[in-house]
């Protein structure tokens, strides 16, 4: 199958490339694209990739996602690149980056943390980026490595 068929271009919207293979569903969930007004989605999964081996691509037709919105996926797709398309042409391109505050995406691994029991959005602050280390706003516990991936 020619490459162009697998990765069709969309007329208008946002293309999120370099998502780790198998993570596209998590990405669309975090971005709220599964809602009825989320935009038409085109998914390519398990696409061969030089950078990642295999990758997923999510295309959102008719919607321009802001950098701030897309940064929410940085924890699960740290290598993701975002292309904004107008009239079949890429007009803007950026890489995701981890925001200073992560709200409502990651649950706290501390079972005794109040955020796992009360009606409140879990919230984390960046303690360090390299290696990635977050601190729960509520219980003040730090989370890193596998624990982050396991609680997304």
């Amino acid at each position: 199958m020619p490459e162009s068929l697998k990765i069709e271009v969309i007329p208008e919207g946002t293309v999120i490339d370099h998502i780790p293979a198998g993570k596209w569903l998590k990405v669309v969930e975090i971005l709220g694209l599964t809602k009825p007004n989320g935009g038409t989605l085109l998914i390519a999964s398990n696409v061969p990739s030089k950078k990642l081996g295999r990758k997923d691509i999510v295309k959102v037709e008719g919607r321009y996602l802001s950098e701030e919105e897309v940064n929410k996926i940085a924890l699960i797709a740290p290598m993701a690149t975002v292309n904004i398309v107008r009239d079949y042409k890429i007009v803007e391109k950026f890489k995701v980056s981890i925001p200073d505050e992560i709200v409502g995406i990651l649950t706290c691994p501390n079972p005794n943390c109040v955020s796992n029991h009360e009606y409140v959005l879990p919230k984390f602050r960046i303690e360090s980026r390299e290696p990635l280390k977050l601190r729960c706003h509520y219980c003040e516990r730090t989370v890193e490595g596998e624990e982050i991936l396991g609680n997304l």
Binding site: N110, N112, C113, V114, S115, H117, E118, Y119, V120, C136, H137, Y138, C139, E140, R141, T142
Partner: protein
């Protein structure tokens, strides 16, 4: 930093300047108290919400509020409230703030005080949230040291006991990093201070020694801060049995100490300090309990905006 309306949730929220200011206000109040009753907080109501019992801490806060001339309402176990009926913490807080001017909360879950502070319009003071924070304990520890020695800089301080699970020693160590002190961390191998805390202390310029040898270390110290090995913090009983009773501060140990050594303990103790030490000049732990009152008076008064 403006103290009026301020929440007191975590030692992490404090700067050195905040701590110094607070200790100064506490000192002033302690002197004023000697002259007679105070009425800074007349007409003000403190609500003490103790979702798990901690009689000492609650009494200390209640005493502080009464000594400021204010009054107190509250409960001391979740089973006697509508929490038992499934009411959320947020709703309890929103209700109680209609009755009071400041809230003190003790809760078994980590982060509960932070959440309460976000919900409440009035100031919230953390009196212990699970195994996370107990900031007023740390502040009264610092106050006790300052009162006993006239200052904190230049002292050699030993932290003894359960340095792994002990919430009090973690936040005390972090607060001491604001000062020019030398720290000895004395514990059984199994109960060493977590790596990340030791690294943070060293990173902040503190000289930190780690040792298992209490006897060899005691001649160096100005302050020995003793903690209890708490059975309930251990993931398994076997680990607890290995370290239980691994040290005791008694008269024969203190023979090698400086005459001016002061022994502290957040209390309650079990057998880590022999009662015979109580009658010596070394014992500072009951004075430490007393310190809780002026320190909590200062916190309440500042948060209420009736002191400055």
């Amino acid at each position: 930093m403006d103290w009026k309306g301020r929440d007191v949730i975590s030692v992490r929220d404090f700067s050195k300047g905040d701590i110094e200011f607070l200790l100064k206000v506490a000192e002033r109040l302690e002197e004023e108290l000697k002259k007679g009753p105070l009425d800074y907080a007349r007409g003000k109501i403190l609500a003490t919400l103790f979702f798990e019992p901690s009689t000492r801490t609650r009494l200390s806060f209640e005493s502080a509020m009464h000594r400021l001339g204010g009054s107190v309402i509250g409960f001391s176990s979740a089973s006697s409230t509508s929490v038992k009926k499934g009411e959320s913490l947020a709703d309890t807080i929103k209700t109680v703030e209609q009755y009071s001017d400041v809230i003190v909360i003790r809760h078994p879950m980590e982060g509960a005080a932070r959440l309460a502070a976000e919900v409440a319009e009035i100031p919230v003071i953390n009196a212990g949230d699970g195994s996370n924070q107990h900031p007023t304990q740390t502040l009264l520890d610092l106050y006790t040291i300052k009162r006993a020695f006239g200052g904190i800089d230049g002292l050699t301080i030993g932290l003894l006991g359960d340095l792994k699970y002990g919430r009090t020693v973690h936040s005390l160590a972090e607060a001491l990093a604001f000062y020019d002190v030398e720290l000895y961390l004395i514990s059984p191998e199994l109960l060493r201070m977590p790596r990340y805390i030791v690294e943070e202390l060293r990173g902040r310029g503190l000289t930190v020694h780690e040792t298992t040898d209490l006897e060899g270390t005691i001649p160096e110290l100005d302050v020995l801060y003793v903690t209890r090995i708490q059975r309930e913090r251990f993931p398994d009983e076997e680990e607890y049995l290995k370290v239980k009773g691994s040290y005791q501060v008694n008269l024969s140990l203190l023979k090698n100490a400086k005459e001016t050594l002061r022994v502290m303990h957040p209390l309650p103790r079990v057998d880590e300090i022999h009662p015979e030490v109580d009658r010596t000049e070394h014992a500072l732990y009951f004075r430490q309990v007393f310190s809780g009152v002026p320190v909590r008076m200062a916190l309440l008064g500042l948060a209420l905006g009736v002191l400055g």
